[in-house]
Symmetry: C2
């Protein structure tokens, strides 16, 4: 899967080439559909702005599809969009001293074939070419870092604690569960199909897992899985699951609020009983992965690369081919169609 | 108002006397009414269990009326009631080495004239008789301690921060606001009548205040009062107010969840948009005042007594007379009829 490391860029400088892009046509209410997006064919000149000392031109290779993107498809007057997309790609042209043509990087670009980036402050060089490049959309990129920072910095999970993670087969959840197992926690995950539950128990080695769609009573499911209660909940979904978890938390329990995917397409949020926080001194804390960049990311990247080499962490990706498949892949997230990290391969190097 | 310190107990040991009590007749759904309670006349023998070395018999003087009591009026299979009532009273008989007849104490007794307490582990001696005894149901008791611990231990309010408190004229809110002012915070409170708002601005010296019932748009009200956003929210009410506050929080804002009085009488909780926690790394944390007893309470009591002596903290109480008035006083909390700390005086020493 990994492209040959030294493949030369085929593009000639100054040439104008087509640049296919995914465009959001309208702000979305409710569930997004493929009709909300359009794949258009534009052009890009393979050139940098004259005089720039920071710009780079990137050929994008793998687009990341993530649930939080739904929150960027609604207009919030007071809430500017807070996270762009993460994409591994290859530098085609560079005026920046830290990047040279042929370098591989991952970072914030766009849902398009080529991106001109005026200043790549949100891009990171890819240090571990021994893994598939697509891992930098997942276990070695933002989802992995999110799992790591949320579990250890926000929820402060410790050995011997009871940990629950929802959307556990997803890009973040699968890493949360494996990191918690490595820490010596008792780990249970929920997911939305028997195939995913099977993956959690076998591939990822969770202590237990359940299909939330087949549980008539979430409270009963959590009681069965956690007779002693829950110390840490890594929340990817919010809503009814969060509500049931709060009732099952142990004193001084912590909830790392990473996502609320069950809520993004609703007009009114689900009514969670927040009085549950009071009696057990529960802490709920949201976080953004962007707080944990720079040196923190580098340390994470090395630790995770070691886990991957030693086989202590594995990952499952769901890769579709071609930018035309991107809208359906994004929409599919909200129906739970992906199994593992959803990636769109738009070029193989 | 303070009874003479050495008034002798009129009761003769062994005598049987009437003991009027407030009884909850049925578990409550929705808003409680006075018909859910009954004042009955029982008897109590003025005697201690033979052989006990810990029991005390207490004559109750002031009953505390608090919103959390509503949560004890509903049966929760999995959630045992977590806080009993706090009452200042006077020791009539004692087998306990730390209490002697005539001592004044406050603690967990009952809504009745006399309480036999097998072991007064949840009672504290009253050290500051220079203040009205009823202060030990408020500023020097549980509401004051709740305000203090919630603001400083949970929300960790610091000088220069923007602090919002709801139910700000209530027993806890009025102390929260004054402590935050003393810390050098900018403090705004909300309350449910113009009379209360006036009290906040004049008597308690809040920087600003508003009547939430007269604001068509809570988001606009908060934007007007906090153009720079909110760092700390001391939440007594939950629901729509909490939802609007989360939208107005600054990065790394903290919510101390003390109560959710707008929610106790609802069948389904209000849907608060918890995704707001994510983008700004907001921490919401519940707490119970019972975590902050013992030595912590003693330090608080001395600090608060100093503030009261120096006139830096004032308090407003709403005292009704007689145990027959207790049910209506409790019910009135949920209509916001009380102005300040609701107390029921059942004996004046």
């Amino acid at each position: 899967m990994a492209p040959p490391p030294a493949a030369a860029a085929a593009e000639a400088e100054g040439e104008e080439v087509t640049n296919r892009q995914v465009i959001l046509k309208l702000y979305v209410t409710g569930y997004p559909t493929v009709d909300d997006m359009e794949v258009v064919t534009g052009t890009v000149r393979l050139a940098l702005p004259p005089g720039s000392t920071t710009a780079i031109l990137v050929k994008n290779l793998y687009l990341s599809c993530d649930p939080y993107m739904r929150t960027r498809m609604t207009r919030h007057a007071d809430d500017p969009n807070f996270v762009p997309d993460y994409v591994p790609g290859k530098v085609v042209l560079s005026a920046h001293p830290d990047f040279k043509p042929g370098d591989f990087l991952w970072g914030v670009t766009g849902w398009e074939e080529y991106s001109l980036i005026p200043n790549p402050v949100l891009c990171n060089k890819i240090n571990h070419r021994e893994f598939p490049l697509s891992y930098y959309t997942g276990v070695l990129g933002v989802p992995g870092l999110t799992a790591y920072a949320g579990l250890f910095e926000v929820a402060k999970a410790k050995k011997g604690e009871y940990v629950f993670v929802s959307a556990a087969a997803g890009a973040v959840g699968q890493i949360v569960g494996q990191l918690a197992m490595l820490t010596g926690c008792y780990v249970v995950g929920s997911a939305g199909s028997d195939e995913k539950v099977n993956l959690l128990k076998t591939k990822f080695g969770f202590d237990d897992a359940f299909n939330y769609k087949e549980e008539a009573d979430l409270n009963a499911a959590l009681k069965r899985c956690f007779p002693e209660g829950i110390d840490v909940y890594f929340d990817n979904v919010g809503g009814a699951t969060l509500d049931a978890v709060l009732r099952r938390m142990r004193p001084r329990g912590r909830v790392a609020v990473c996502g609320q995917v069950s809520q993004y397409n609703l007009e009114r949020p689900y009514g969670v009983d927040l009085f549950q926080l009071v009696g057990k001194h529960i802490r709920m804390e949201g976080f953004l992965v962007s707080e944990y960049g720079g040196e923190y990311y580098r340390r994470f990247e090395e630790e995770m690369a070691r886990h991957l080499r030693e086989g202590k962490v594995v990952c499952v990706e769901d890769i579709v081919e071609g930018i035309d498949a991107a809208p359906a892949a994004l929409v599919g997230l909200f129906a739970g169609r992906n199994v593992g990290k959803q990636v769109v391969a738009i070029a193989r190097e």
